[in-house]
Symmetry: D2
């Protein structure tokens, strides 16, 4: 079968690979749609270390093609979304039926070959049935929503609180929509490009600040009567944005860090104490029902994924897909690849 | 000046009354708009005991006409909304600058003469400045929102939870909108009339159940896959509705009781234990910022009060106003009286 | 093997029964110690319906004697405590590796034959390894602690809050100790007997009120400066005690109901609203780590079970054990039976 | 009257000062006992900038000697503890009866002359009546408890959680006791001196780690089965201790920062995200009832202050008092000065 293989930095090519097999407790999924995530792009551009060769990709959907031992045959043919982290199968949590508490979960596509291919094997516990009314491309875009849910679940927004979302990439846009749905009052977003702001506004942002043109700190303080926002969520992973967080959150406010980059500046402790802040680190999708709830938000129409998808490619054109996602050419937000 | 006076059950008439004076710490407010609340109506129809004669009304807005001793002169002429409960002025809380923790707060219009008149005296601590962009009639409709905020603040809805609001009177409709804004997923409402459902839907209800035509319990269970809703909010004050709460909430779910009536059936304890429920009693607007936040929801346009107002009368026609509000003729939801 | 069998109301006798066998996923446990719980006693005295004949008992410890298919052989010989509720094995939760979220869990000893015998079969997921330093008799007394933990986990006591525990049977005493450990300030307990108060005091109660001699409501209000307690926990299951709850909890306070009896009076709704109360129903041990934490409290010495055990019998004297536990003769609190 | 005056770095001397007068809303307190805090010591040793000359001190108790205009005469002669932060009197919060929400509160003894004297003027809102059974020296030691309460109130310890308190100075010891009272299970403390550990153990610490002799990180991981503690509280203000926090807290754990020093290393963001941590900054005593609750913990005997007080001096010997507190000679923990 065909698979997209990262062979070196900024080098991805189609190769012929052997068919996967389903071990006991595993299934083989026929990939119908896969989306490119920041992680894939950073494996490609070198900001995240990855072994070569590697088939990238972890956010995908498809149909069960075959099942391994100990897996119910009725799975075959079912449409599914797939949770992207593989439990290690060998720790106390995995041995006691709590695989999603596994502390050694590994992201598919990074620690093992991923979904930018025709078929891929995953544990049956990673499957979520895809309900009627949710299309394959939608079910391949759930991870930013699941990560966002893991964030708003911890922030517990009180109706009317002011929220700042720094960065309007896919995770930032997902959080814009999820905060709007969760009761945010004033909902200020920032980005260095104008391109995503149309989506931001359709998702509920009340104020969009272009950091390339405006002093963002000054703008946010002015929009919050000089006291700062109740909640600040940093999703950009840019040092300047991260450094600004403590200055635009109000006394006794809350701060969430999601944007991940090796060069993030550390947080000074004195202002965290002086302002009596609470800082939440968000490291993933939580793995406790967030995927299922993300799917329901899409199914019910409360989260419209359509504005996020700017580009679609076939697997044959995967090189172009990575080029677009990496360069963000043409206002790229989410790029989808279909085998 | 003119005042509407309840002289006996179902009897309200205009009378000439002496002008109020502002005691130290108090102000006189020129009433610009007042709304009729269930309490006023029940004083009129006898379901709530009230001394006669009594000027009813507590949800109102206006402009400061004059100020008493120890009150800043700059209040004069300012547009204000007015919080409806008077601190007793004589308890430890009132003596230590925490009047809104006063345990003996009394509702104006019930325990003292209220706002269905031209001018009324209130403590300065009850005033909230009315900002630009909020009209007088809007500022006289804040109480159902404040009570609703006091409810959702305690329920802390998690994004996507299913919510049932029993009863779609003004408080029920306020909660429908506030739950939609707070992240409710499936949002089921009930009422014995079709009339309010158009408003319910515009406020975000996903399913409307007419209890006069349908077995509501069966309908709600069917809409929640047989397990019941995450959250049930009883606002109707009807015995049958109250009795149903425990049957339509899921195991480990939450229940809020707001609808107040003397004939509510008591709650059996066994199902509260067996289903591991949490039951919240909501007795008012909380008095800790809810009014200010309600005003901001209106100002920002996130809560559109317009669909709630079905009838408007001048003070001269107050008898008709009470008749309409009491009979709910013509699909009445909220009735406004302007001097 | 020998088993204690309830043959009719107030009739229990030793019988010879066939050895249990371990189905796939199950183990056979050699019982070392079992304790009598209120449920067992009510099966015996008729306040809880039970089919006859029935081997009662669910709170026990022992050693794994043999294992069924799919169970790790290394379990054989290990000392274990046993969680008392059997997952149904056939619902969506059981099929997806979340047996403790099973909504049809059934108590062993009530819905199937229990532990008042020499050996009993249970699912391996119900086992908790018994660590060094915890004796078998201690590991057979964990259920009241697990139920109590499920209660304090939901109440989230703030350091210094006043707590009332109504009833000082085993669950009430467990809650007295757990509330003391969790930060209760004034800790008032009630019972109709003097007998348990010595234990109550050693567990941290600050005030003991004998409801047979004192007006408990008056006493509690006096001890709380007339405002009522922050938290009231009803464990007695007595109508008079349950009826008093709403009168001795402060405005905006919290109430937990655990005491289970068919004749509990229902809760009036008006005071729950007027006092803005939160009412927690507690229906069991939660099944999410409470057993493991109970075991650790015992192991670390923070919960001393010794004062709770007033009587010990061999299996041969099980009839006398039930007689003592039922009559509460000799100040009986907890009765232990060892095969 | 006599006052201790900081005239330069490490220089404190007794001087004659004019009597204070009580402005409207203020009172003059006759100082009975004052304790030295880290802030005073750092003003003396130069780690905190302070204008000279300055009368230091803010944690004290005494009796009301006289009252200003608008203050109830019945205060005269009453025994009081005094909250140490002065509201600015000029902001929106101060003008609307919420002085303790004042964002410009200033610590007495740092921003204005303090309590190391015979008499001092403070606003009446800063007074707390000292109840029978609490002595003056006890009421001059409340600040570490109030700061500690503000910490545990936010951490909301669940019964049995493991807690590490880094540093066993007065705040660290206060937190050791407050965490023990709040339900901590394993309670590990660290310090670079053996001296405080005897107090730590009497306050409930289960394990004491001398960082001068042991690899603290290794020791803590070993005591927590290699996974780290549920909660880590940094009180030492030492860079090495602060840097260790992220390594000894478990995944999904909580971290509180209280120890204040200009040279604290900043917190790297990646581990906060990777471990899904929550970080609480604590900047003071909260000002919302913590002082009153601290007093009640002392009155009820649940917090025994006696072990904290290692040295007592008269005002005449204030120079020696500062020398001892600064050098920590003789195992000094808390030093008390009585006029």
């Amino acid at each position: 079968m065909r698979a997209a293989v990262l062979t070196a930095l900024e080098s991805i090519e189609l190769q012929e690979r052997p068919e996967p097999e389903a071990a006991p407790g595993w299934v083989v999924v026929q990939v119908e749609s896969a989306s490119l995530c920041g992680t894939d792009v950073h494996q490609y551009d070198g900001r995240i270390d990855t072994p070569f060769p590697r088939v990238p990709g972890h956010d995908f959907s498809g149909r069960v093609a075959s099942v391994g031992e100990d897996v119910d045959e009725s799975w075959v043919g079912r449409a599914v979304a797939v949770k992207p982290s593989l439990p290690c199968g060998d720790c106390p949590e995995c041995h006691t039926d709590k695989p999603f508490d596994c502390k050694r979960k590994k992201l598919i596509g990074l620690w093992s070959d991923g979904c930018m291919t025709e078929r891929v094997a995953v544990p049956v516990v990673n499957l979520i049935p895809r309900p009627d009314g949710v299309e394959a491309w939608q079910a391949s875009l759930l991870e930013p929503l699941a990560v966002g849910l893991n964030t708003v679940d911890r922030l517990r927004i009180i109706l009317g609180e002011s929220v700042v979302v720094l960065g309007q990439g896919p995770i930032g846009l997902a959080l814009t929509r999820l905060c709007a749905l969760s009761g945010a009052g004033k909902l200020i977003v920032t980005d260095a490009r104008e391109a995503p702001f149309e989506v931001s506004r359709s998702f509920g942002a009340t104020d969009c600040v272009n950091v390339a043109e405006t002093d963002a700190q000054e703008a946010i303080l002015e929009l919050t009567d000089g006291v700062g926002a109740d909640i600040v969520i940093e999703t950009s992973g840019f040092p300047a944005s991260s450094a600004m967080c403590l200055d635009v959150v109000r006394k006794e406010g809350r701060l969430a860090h999601i944007g991940w980059a090796n060069d993030l500046p550390p947080l000074p402790v004195i202002p965290i104490m002086a302002k009596t802040l609470t800082v939440y680190g968000v490291g993933g999708n939580g793995g406790r029902g967030q995927y299922e709830r993300a799917l329901e938000l899409v199914r019910s129409g409360r989260f419209d994924l359509d504005p996020l998808v700017t580009h679609r490619f076939s697997l044959d054109d995967v090189a172009e897909a990575f080029d677009v996602a990496s360069s963000k050419a043409g206002g790229a937000i989410k790029v989808i690849v279909s085998p």
